[in-house]
Amino acid sequence: MARLKLPIPPLPPALLPRPKRPGQAEKAKPLDQAKEAGIHAADWVDERTTLSGALRWTMFRKVPKGTNWFYTLGSAAMFAFLSQAVTGVFLAMYYTPSVTDAYESTRHITNEVFLGEFVRGMHKWGSTMMVILIFLHMGRVFFFGAYKYPREINWIIGFVLLVLTFVMSLTGYLLPFDQRSYWATIVAANITASGPIVGPFLGDFLRGGAEFGATTLSRFYSIHMLLVPGLIAALIGAHIYLVTRLGTTAPPWLKADVDERLREDEV
């Protein structure tokens, strides 16, 4: 589109735009500068942190031929965790971890807080989704043989993440503090305690004593919202670092193309 020329009002010669001197680069106009502000800001940060290299290293990776939708299950599980983290933070704003108020505050969230039922539902059903997605992801890694050398450590980290997710499920189950929560926790602590030798002490550690007592709920709450989420976030970081470092595997049905000249029968 041709640029519209605005009529220039009659001005004294001192105020007229001067013609360009030969050999001089054109001065950047404010509009152009504004257009480049974003790039300038990014540049400013990058010059001081060299973050762009790391970002390029993480985001622009080569992926093998045959990469398909099954490879998104890991990210899906991570986003399930992020969703749990966000909804969990907001639920914590209304929840009271005390044996006398926990049930009442859960009821308050569900019935009275604006969108409370929705956020609590997201957290409740999201936890199930997270476990399902982790299992699907684990199955994908297993059946594609992606746990093999050099990715064994990532399999182990993933297994620890699975166990930590179970710990989250167990500790979160108690928090609504209804009959189901209470008895499920009793049963879970007793299953823990039925391991030989160390079992009884682990059971006591879970309950915070010989009986389900005043500290059990707050103990579970602290494990559920502080201890384990921190560990999970850190381990997800390590998991993703190793994926970036080692790359993903091609699906097992794709055979690597071997150069004609290197074929054994040819040689």
Partner: protein
């Protein structure tokens, strides 16, 4: 020349031409500083970590206070059937700490010889409703004279002995005593299938026959009763 420098190195800093070395010194100052800083770091970390761990683990070792709670006059209870009573087993948590207990008078015809050393006298039998499979609450069904667990079908006979299902040992008991004409319920204790008494009560699912009593050690924090 450089083939075996390590062996020719003297252990004295003075012999190694280290500036400022003095007679008989074997540890360089750099090494000494490194060691000191590491030791200081360990002490500082332990000063934070150990109290925090103790704080988290403390309740496991805490000794519980022995409490007795009256559940009714002695006339309320007969040797023939159980009367359900509610008492507080865990203090400070409101209704959650309350539990049902089934009480009856001691019946020599079923229970046999009374243990002469049992604290409180044992004139009354108080059975816990805690199922010895995984801890669900059992209820007494008078028609069949059995305790039935709703969760996985554990069944106990009139004395609390396992009659069927997954439970590994008879129902827990509570010590009982009579004070001012009232039956009082005291601490819990476990029994094995011979009705041998284990004052350090075990959690459900922990077998107390044979090797079980060693595989599932009792708590150190069990209070002594006399």
């Amino acid at each position: 020349m450089a083939k075996d420098r390590r062996q020719t190195k003297s252990k004295y800093t003075a012999d190694r031409n280290i500036p400022g070395a003095f007679e008989g010194e074997t540890v360089t100052r750099r090494r000494f500083m490194t060691g000191t800083v590491h030791a200081g770091g360990i002490v500082a970390t332990a000063a934070i970590v150990l109290p925090a761990l103790g704080f988290a683990l403390g309740p496991v070792f805490e000794k519980k206070e022995t409490r007795w709670e009256a559940v009714g006059p002695t006339d309320d209870f007969t040797p023939e059937t159980y009367v359900p009573k509610v008492f507080t087993e865990s203090y400070g948590i409101g209704d959650v700490g309350k539990t049902t207990v089934y009480v009856r008078a001691y019946n020599p015809d079923i229970d046999g010889e009374k243990d002469p050393e049992i604290p409180g006298g044992g004139d009354f039998v108080a059975l816990s409703t805690r199922c010895m499979h995984l801890g669900c609450p059992v209820r007494f069904v008078a028609a069949s004279e059995r305790f039935i667990c709703p969760c996985h079908g554990g069944v106990y006979d009139f004395t609390g002995q396992v009659d069927g299902g997954p439970p590994v040992r008879p129902l827990d008991h509570f010590y009982t005593r009579v004070q001012d004409g009232q039956v009082e319920i005291g601490p819990r204790y476990s029994v094995n299938s011979e009705f041998e008494r284990f004052p350090a009560y075990r959690d459900p699912g922990q077998d107390l026959d044979g090797i079980g009593q060693y595989l599932y050690p009792g708590r150190f924090s069990t209070p002594k009763l006399d």
